[in-house]
Symmetry: C2
Subunit: 434 residues, 2 copies
């Protein structure tokens, strides 16, 4: 007698039941389709990396979370995002790559997070980036959210919007105000939605900002209205060159986003968005579902000046966004925000009575050759139970065959929705159902 081990999986990973997996695959397919329609290369970097290469940047929270282990003489780390591997890949293959390098990558990444709701150890990221060599036109920043928008539109996501800002606008303002503690100041600004103006003010006081500096920052943070109004108000806020040039870029990126197909009401210039302090340098994006801002940004990213400074002296500016798909999927399902499409498991099923197995297999072959997703069920068993299974799997058509059908070279064809069943010549089956 074999000893039984209770089958179970780690906490903090997502594994789906077959019916759920079909929906998840459907989502992956939509994402892949749009990435490819927008002419991004599929990239598939290794999951296992040399630890010293993957962690070249070193330090910080990331290193603590990483899965790292030794095997033989190798010090191995599992990728924890798709950006560091992109940087490593581009630097490594720089002479074999055409720039601008447009790549997408859909893959699992790994983090040894402490157990926490919405945090995963193993999860999908869907990344899209355009990387230039030495230079990259800022209007590429319009294409990136546009491909994400096409995806969310096809997924029928409820009302969402891209929140856009520009790090140069922020930096220009800080320079104008002669604020030196930039990172701290921005980190506090970024929390505005959570902590509110009064607390934000208090924290700015604590780090030593003057009343005038705080007043001007508040004025900036409180800018409201539609994008035209926000831009008009911003324009008057500072005459700093960086501020004005960045504002012009932001204006054009927003215009470009509309030209690329994002509907006006889904684009919001939001002066409080700062993101990734040590990384992004230009446009920054977050994406929120209206009324569900609490679940956080579902798709974020921005423009960076230098992708791979740890791997090459070549300057590689780029722009990208990322969907954390595992968290997004599970959150949307949990909140009832994902319109679940009815995806049939197959286009048609072939059932048979004992003795008609070969005939059933032959019919299935014909249907598959004609491009139909075909389930063939040659197990013996009650036909009623089989029909229930087809209903459950939302298969719209059934072919049923037995001795009579073999003799007459016919098939019984049943419409699972209406229940109507007709016997037709085998030769008519393909023209009838395809």
């Amino acid at each position: 007698m074999t000893e039984i081990t209770k089958p179970s999986i780690l906490s903090g990973v997502m594994e789906l039941l077959p019916e759920e997996q079909i929906i998840f695959e459907h989502i992956l397919e939509i994402i892949r389709k749009h990435f490819e329609r927008n002419a991004f290369y599929p990239l598939d970097t290794t999951v296992l990396e040399k630890a010293e290469v993957l962690l070249a940047k070193g330090g910080g929270e990331t290193e603590k979370q990483i899965y790292r282990f030794e095997k033989g003489s190798n010090d191995i780390a599992m990728r924890f995002d798709l950006t560091v591997p992109l940087a490593r890949y581009v630097a490594q293959n720089i002479s074999a790559i055409d720039f601008p390098f447009r790549r997408y990558q859909i893959g699992k990444v790994y983090r040894g997070e402490r157990k926490q709701k919405g945090r995963y150890r193993e999860f999908y990221q869907c990344d899209v980036d355009i990387v230039g060599n030495e230079k990259l036109h800022y209007l590429n920043d319009a294409e990136i959210p546009a491909v994400m928008d096409a995806i969310f539109q096809e997924l029928n996501l409820p009302k969402y919007a891209f929140y856009v800002n520009h790090r140069g606008v922020l930096n220009g303002l800080l320079n104008d105000l002669a604020i030196t503690k930039k990172d701290e100041t921005l980190r506090i600004l970024d929390k505005r939605d959570k902590i509110g103006d009064e607390k934000m003010k208090g924290e700015w006081q604590e780090i030593g900002l003057s009343e005038e500096q705080i007043e001007r920052l508040l004025q900036y943070a409180r800018i409201e209205g539609d994008n035209d109004q926000v831009l008009a108000t911003l324009e008057k806020l500072s005459q700093n060159t960086q501020f004005q040039e960045s504002l012009e870029e932001l204006k054009n990126v927003v215009k470009g986003m509309e030209v690329c197909g994002i509907s006006r009401e889904r684009i919001r210039i939001n002066p409080s968005i700062t993101r990734g302090l040590d990384y992004y340098t230009g446009t920054v994006y977050e994406t929120f579902i209206q009324g569900h801002e609490n679940i956080g940004s579902i798709c974020s990213g921005g423009r960076y000046d230098n992708l791979a400074s740890f791997y090459t002296t070549q300057k590689l500016p780029g722009v990208g966004m990322s969907i954390g798909l595992t968290r997004l999927y599970s959150t949307l399902v949990a909140e009832g925000l994902l319109p679940i499409p009815e995806i049939p498991y197959a286009d048609i099923a072939v059932l048979c009575f004992p003795g008609a197995e070969f005939y059933a297999l032959e019919i299935a072959r014909k249907l598959r050759e004609a491009g139909m997703k075909t389930l063939v069920q040659i197990e013996s068993g009650k036909i009623g139970k089989k029909m229930q299974m087809l209903d459950k799997k939302k298969i719209p058509l059934a072919v049923i065959v037995g001795d009579n059908e073999i003799n007459d070279q016919t098939v019984a064809l049943k419409d699972m929705k209406t229940g109507e069943q007709n016997t037709i010549p085998l030769a008519d089956l393909i023209p009838t159902v395809v």
Copy 2:
């Protein structure tokens, strides 16, 4: 100045350049299409598993190869194949699954192999299995190689054949010959292609088989001819019940494979194939490319009586096959056996002169909305160099726009093959190219 870490990857992993990756993705897409057309569920088990669950079976070569590490209180192992996770998944979700459970899984698996040509630490497997609960009709064994055949046909693989045998035929014969050292006897038989008859005979003598036993085994191993001849010869070889019943099954499985669409000349009954001694119990398959048998079986599998005996007392018989895609791809490329399809990077490219960026983005949006894979290139740069890039990427059409085209609301449309270029109204572009 940032310190530079030389970008590199581990040995024994495959990472492709963009042009290669497109071909690999094309192959993955074909595999996925046929798995789905044959109505297999996509399954996506976790890569990280609880070590004590994944290694329930324990012992052997596998355990030495595994990547296993601790993080916090977790003892974690990376999956080393897709079969053990399938067993764990089915046992774990047995009440939520409809049987027969038809699943495919395409995913990376991980083995800490010692460095060796053709061995990978991280590689793709493409598995397809049908798992029954308590029972599974043996004609399912015909469907499995048929879906693999459809894939290889669409990939235009050179002449290959499925080598088929039945473990019951072998066991029946061994019983008939009163051979007790079954595993050793079969292990020697399985090496016939490599070591030849004389050496095989010697090894059988060494383990103590009698001259008569060896004579009968040789007679069995030497059976040749087309499938009908082999079956006819086999029938007369032993009157053992298991032998005869298994032979009948084998005959029907081969017939079923033909019915399912595998051309006769690609099916070979081969009495020497034994495979997975402690696992397979019925039909066994291997797949060889003619004239390149040395690269080994490119797709193997078989029928098993009990998938998940380590996780459940429920009997789960099944049948499956697996493609080791990373090894297959790299071997086929290395041997020049993969007919490389010309896959254009995009259907059309939109290029622009400075000042026409928004116009270019608008055109790209229209083309994408019409379903065309569209590259838009808004970087400034020499048009000749851009054309070279399109040629290299095999993009068949180019739209070029500048101030004149904006003013006239036209586009210059270039056929990259003929070099012909025409200026047409923007409104005519979609009807012309889609």
